[in-house]
Symmetry: C3
Subunit: 226 residues, 3 copies
């Protein structure tokens, strides 16, 4: 009978781990979706608090390091450029940033995780708002890393690769090459620049590449890039 009890204990321990992984998957999807809702509304203070102290934000060819780097990007750059220093939605500025198509994979020890998401953004400034009237679509891929600290999942690496932009009137078939410049100068030379540059420099549409998949092929097990 002691053996039976020991077997039950082991079985329960095993189930408990499976449940933990499922809960982690939900927590990570929830984190990423909540992030998207904050970005929609230019809630950059709330956004920065989603990151671990030792985080990285990868964006437009640059790596912003630690929470100081994240603040430089979200608060000093985006908040200044998009909402004139306001933390939150302003009149006539749209930045809807849906978070879609999760592939979340938690490490066996349940302490870190990787996930792929995508976005299909609607952005622009209304003709009645102050500033340049613009409107565009944007498609992009996230390949992120997460860390669980004191039971709470946070962003460890937020790696966003905008893949294409399309002016609302003209569309993606007519996007000028090199519409946006990747970062080429680091902080502090560029006071709002990244701490490091990504090499090789990511490409933009109409150039294409594959943002590497963090997961092996689910049937063949083949690892991407091998």
């Amino acid at each position: 009978m002691e053996n039976q009890i020991r077997a039950l204990e082991q079985k329960i321990e095993q189930l408990s781990k499976h449940i933990g992984i499922l809960e982690d998957i939900h927590a990570i999807r929830r984190l990423q979706h909540i992030y998207g809702y904050y970005i929609d509304k230019c809630l950059y203070e709330e956004t920065v608090e989603l990151f671990s102290e030792n985080c990285e934000v990868r964006f437009m060819g640059g790596i912003f390091k630690g929470k100081a780097g994240a603040r430089r990007l979200y608060i000093e750059r985006f908040q200044k450029n998009f909402t004139n220093g306001v933390n939150g939605a302003v009149y006539g500025f749209l930045l809807d940033h849906p978070q879609l198509q999760d592939v979340v994979d938690v490490a066996p020890d349940g302490r870190t995780a990787k996930a792929r998401f995508r976005s299909l953004m609607q952005a622009g400034r209304h003709e009645l708002a102050e500033g340049e009237t613009r409107q565009w679509w944007e498609g992009g891929i996230y390949e992120n890393e997460y860390v669980k600290e004191d039971g709470i999942w946070k962003f460890k690496v937020l790696n966003y690769r905008p893949l294409w932009h399309a002016d609302f009137a003209k569309g993606w078939a007519h996007t000028p090459p090199n519409l946006y410049q990747m970062f080429s100068e680091t902080y502090p030379e560029n006071p709002l620049g990244p701490d490091e540059l990504i090499k090789p420099t990511p490409v933009l549409w109409p150039e294409t590449d594959v943002v590497p998949f963090h997961y092996p092929h689910p049937v063949t097990g083949e690892i991407w890039g091998k």
Copy 2:
């Protein structure tokens, strides 16, 4: 040995609750996604059956109460306006209403839940169909409540906030302010109106605000609006 067994029973009871919450999350996502597929196809009879008797539907500044209110909105208003009284898809009418980016939170007792979703709608009437030719994009947020009755999850409060509309040709940078009127008169004075008006009246693009988050910040725990 009795102690060991009692400990196992307690552990199993605890795991069982965790599994129940995970199953509830899936059931609620499933309900909301199924709702979206019915709305796509103007299946308003099927839609109304997703609601609890004591439901509310919040839409365009009005609160429609109970299943009678839901029928007034979906059957008497939408079905008449969109499909000429038909329950189901009609020639040349598009109302694709994707359900995206769930943040589902189940109450500890497993009997009620709240969830945020978003939609990015493609709508309009084809030039070959009877009626006015139109085509537009729409972005909106759901902040809903759900109730489990006899083991089945239903809508308790469906709260849809359309945030912006964009004519297909002109885009969101050129949407006229006050393109749509919020409800200003209740039922029965307005025979297809809501039972109550939402105060303050919700705004429409190019005005912006934040549809309150039902959840606290996932890292700081700060409650929205406090």
Copy 3:
């Protein structure tokens, strides 16, 4: 005490099944989402490996049978038409194919499953790329079947119904009827054709119909089409 232990064993067995279903749901969402990311990048070799040997692909009025049929569609047709024989993304060709709004239902025995998904596609060829400059939106529904083989979920039936196409400039209100022809000739008469034709032939926008739901109404239990 033996009775208590037997009761615990049964309870654990039951929980284990519930956890298994939740894990299957995640595995199937993951499969479908990974499929979408491969399709985005024209990774047709990787796509075909997601299918069971006895699969079917249903597309544009045709049924492609077995992996040989899947290869005919993805490798011989799509890869030739879209990327000039290359397995992977090419300059100036866009085929972003998001996978959204899952309704996944696993059979009680955990060996097969059905799921509904949708896509909202952004597709086209850039003006600087070789070939015809085009750009369009596409909305479509998946109603798929899956099979678990040696613990790995694969596609058994991939059933994609494109519902509407919209030229980027003109929109869905002005899509010509019969913009695309359904398959009308089978393999080998049509060397890139399907093994069988779907009857009745599916319709395209501005005609509309309902892709049958694999699930009963979640509240009334009514089976679709009965």
